[in-house]
Symmetry: D2
């Protein structure tokens, strides 16, 4: 969407062909990245080049041996309006000064194959000025443009994760016997199953509505629904998977079943890609704004 | 659906014309009516008549001065299979032996105009055998047939109640100032508003899906969704209205705003028409049954 | 604690003898009284008198026919520091200009005997200057001094209310039969009972510790604990009573049992005497303040 | 408490001297061990020996290179009363037939140093009959006797874990800045801190009361309180640590801070040593039993 023809030929084509992988390098350990204006990595112009300096973590998928490229967010103009300070730039991981320090695990799990996400030092990494994505100062706008699709994708996966956990729970409680009958006969277990179904069905429909809105209108029109599923989907998945874990006893938290790992990844999504608190704040402000003049109802 | 032509001419026509109103008289103070097989009121054949004897409460709308008729559920054959013991019969409130004892209020509110629901003694009330609705022993089946539409109707009203509460909350927090700014600027209030929106949007879609399923298939096919919204809708409405009350302070629980009364009626629906626990149990059993053979997922 | 000898002889003696009752008149319908600096009622000096003008509600116990006196909080010096603007003054309800408008009910219940609390207009009510309680500007300080004891008293009553609800629940589920056994045999009901016990035992101990701290040190030293029980006690009581209501079905919300009324009064205490949000804020600020220098732990 | 002089000389002395460590080997992967009567490992008499056969997991601390001994629970008499079927026996890990298969990790973490707990196969392990702990059939009674002290110890550690998380949260939110101020100034964060304090103070007091009861009476008298803290302590710790994680963002789930690991271990204790559901059931039955005759209140 934002790459030049040259950038696309050089990077997008091999990405689409599955020859290489890329990382998105935005969050920083030293600042509260939930407020993107905090980002401190510098991207400084120096003749025909940019020089990138900063430390990032949770750079997505950067531990993969095939990961060849990072899209790095950083400050090009510290004096500009807060939402025009940032730019994105393409940084090949093979450049001198790029140091992949370690995998950033979540609850003891690598977040993805080959070690998942990474902490990366960019130590005066020099790339040609043509590596900038879009214009100087457009980093925030590019981030906004891609977040909607990324979020609905996370939510769809979370539904699949929760569905699987509910399915595993239903099987387990049918098989296991305690106190004279199958676990499935216990009222508390039945309550978990029913509530899991009730929550999942509601979530599934809101994710579908959001995807439909994005397909038929645009990400901006769907922003309130996107924020809503970004809060609701991890919360529901975390709850359903946790109940499935409890129904499994020790097996639920062991490496023999995917449940504990699914839980850790669902929980991570209450922080990644904007913590819940930021999305709730956006929804509330949006609702309060739309309500002010004549207050015709809770929804559009 | 179940009345004879004569029953319809005598009662349904004036009901549709708004000349009279009717009560549904099922729940009894002396037994746990959540298990309908507990119902103890007797409907005994005596020549060409039935004699009705028992005590009911929460007989819907029976306090209305226009209420002329009760549909009474009771046991016609105590020896039959539990689900074939009950019948429904038409009992004019003007018959000797019908004693409307009092309004059954909820949280200090009459549940409907003119005092709402009532506690009624049926003391050897004699009605012609032609007043029976359907066949002897069909009471449970008739109840099942009407519960789906009744429940989706409750849920639609609950959404309206919660929408109104959210709307009132948004207005209030915009107007009121505390600790140096409008309440709307406080993060905790924003969280309530966002969560209200997130929960309501999900609920709304599940109620719509359920209504669509009922319209395009039948109540039996939609039974899992009907049970789900019967649990989810009061829970969500109770939560949203409660937060709106809290945002209003004293005004929220005062008679000046509808919020406290809306809350009481929403809360009542976690008990009326089957308590939450019964619906959760049905959902869980239904899911566990459908899961057994090959377990293809959480939904049909 | 703050009255002159003359004030005590005239009012405190008949109060202690039970001949009259008094009302505390602070909260106002037009402002967010959770922030006491919002209070707008004026108490203006005019020669040897003060003239009181404003509207109050939730004036405690003012509907009682024996209520003879209101302690009114209002602004004596609008230009002073926010916490020195207010004073308290003694206003006999029989004075011209005092209009008790109505009972301010909570969820359909009068909050106390004889109609409970009241909305009162003070329309240029003239009282002698000697009716002022303490000095001009001391209203806020007097309020602070009495809030601790008032709050621990509320919490003790809430524990009694919740204990009674738990007791009623245990009896009911032992007697009532549904689905082939007593309700007490159902796992979901057992979970409510266990959680009610677990929460109540913890709450009881914190209230006891708080009372002990107040007795052995002073209200200021115990301020964090007082705020904690003011949040915890109504929340626990509301939860326990609500579960007891659910276990009773229709009877729980009917006027036949005290549960619905107990619930309404417990819920009211999440708003009255400072809403939960204000107390949480105080606790957090207090903890953050004490933590700053060397952060030796979560408690003192 | 149950070992003979010979057993104590051989094993207890080196344990107390820290020369060796021991494992407790009770839970089995193939059955719901929450119901201890399900345990299937066999301990069969054969001449002067017992032969132990079965598979255990979560054998505590068995991955330690210094772990020399397992106390194994198993069936000595399948025909006996369910609570007299089991015995405990001392099994040196060096015996032929003992196969330590792997570490049983929790949420990706080893549960203890050196890999923590283990899955162990006991394949016809032969030990002298004098290795039996107590009498044949006393396994259940021995387990009961040691569970109280074990549980209060877990709860004390959980309080320490939650205290540390609250302390870390308070520091973090004071340091980090987002949206124009420190996180500590945000109402939602303040609410987490206040609720953490409110919950922890209540829990701390109930754990202290329980320990005092155990010290001054006996484990049986304190059984209701022991069960209560076994439910309350992990739930509170899990909640407090989770909020501390959320306040830290990515750092909270990373290996740089102890929070994610603390959470995993706290969560594990909602399953280990009896899942919450079993303890809640015991509390409810105990309360209902004590209530029956005259129902004098919720507590003893």
């Amino acid at each position: 969407m934002f790459g030049t023809n040259e950038q696309q030929a050089r990077w997008l084509r091999p990405l689409l062909d599955g020859e290489i992988r890329s990382a998105f390098s935005m969050t920083e350990p030293e600042v509260a990245s939930s407020d993107a204006t905090n980002i401190a990595t510098r991207i400084e112009r120096d003749g025909g080049d940019y020089v990138v300096t900063g430390r990032k973590w949770w750079s997505s998928g950067a531990m993969s041996p095939r990961c060849a490229l990072a899209i790095v967010m950083g400050v090009t103009d510290p004096a500009a309006d807060p939402y025009r300070r940032q730019s994105m730039i393409l940084v090949p991981l093979a450049e001198p000064g790029v140091h992949v320090r370690r995998s950033t695990s979540v609850y003891g799990y690598a977040d993805g194959p080959h070690g998942g996400h990474a902490e990366i030092d960019y130590d005066h990494v020099r790339v040609p000025a043509t590596n900038l994505l879009g214009d100087e100062g457009s980093g925030f706008a590019i981030a906004q443009a891609r977040l909607g699709p990324g979020r609905v994708h996370h939510c769809m996966r979370l539904i699949g994760m929760a569905d699987r956990a509910l399915d595993l729970m239903c099987r387990r409680v049918t098989d296991r016997v305690a106190f004279g009958g199958p676990l499935a006969a216990q009222g508390v277990i039945q309550e978990w199953i029913a509530d899991a179904y009730i929550r999942l069905e509601q979530l599934r429909l809101l994710v579908l509505k959001t995807a439909w809105l994005m397909d038929t209108t645009d990400n901006r029109t769907a922003r309130r629904e996107i924020a809503a599923i970004k809060v609701a989907a991890p919360a529901t998945a975390v709850w359903v998977i946790d109940r499935a874990i409890q129904a499994h006893g020790g097996a639920g938290i062991s490496p023999d079943l995917p449940l504990a790992s699914l839980w850790a990844h669902a929980r991570t999504l209450q922080i990644a890609d904007g913590p819940d608190e930021v999305h709730r704040r956006s929804i509330a402000r949006d609702l309060l704004r739309s309500q002010q003049p004549a207050a015709s109802g809770a929804t559009r």
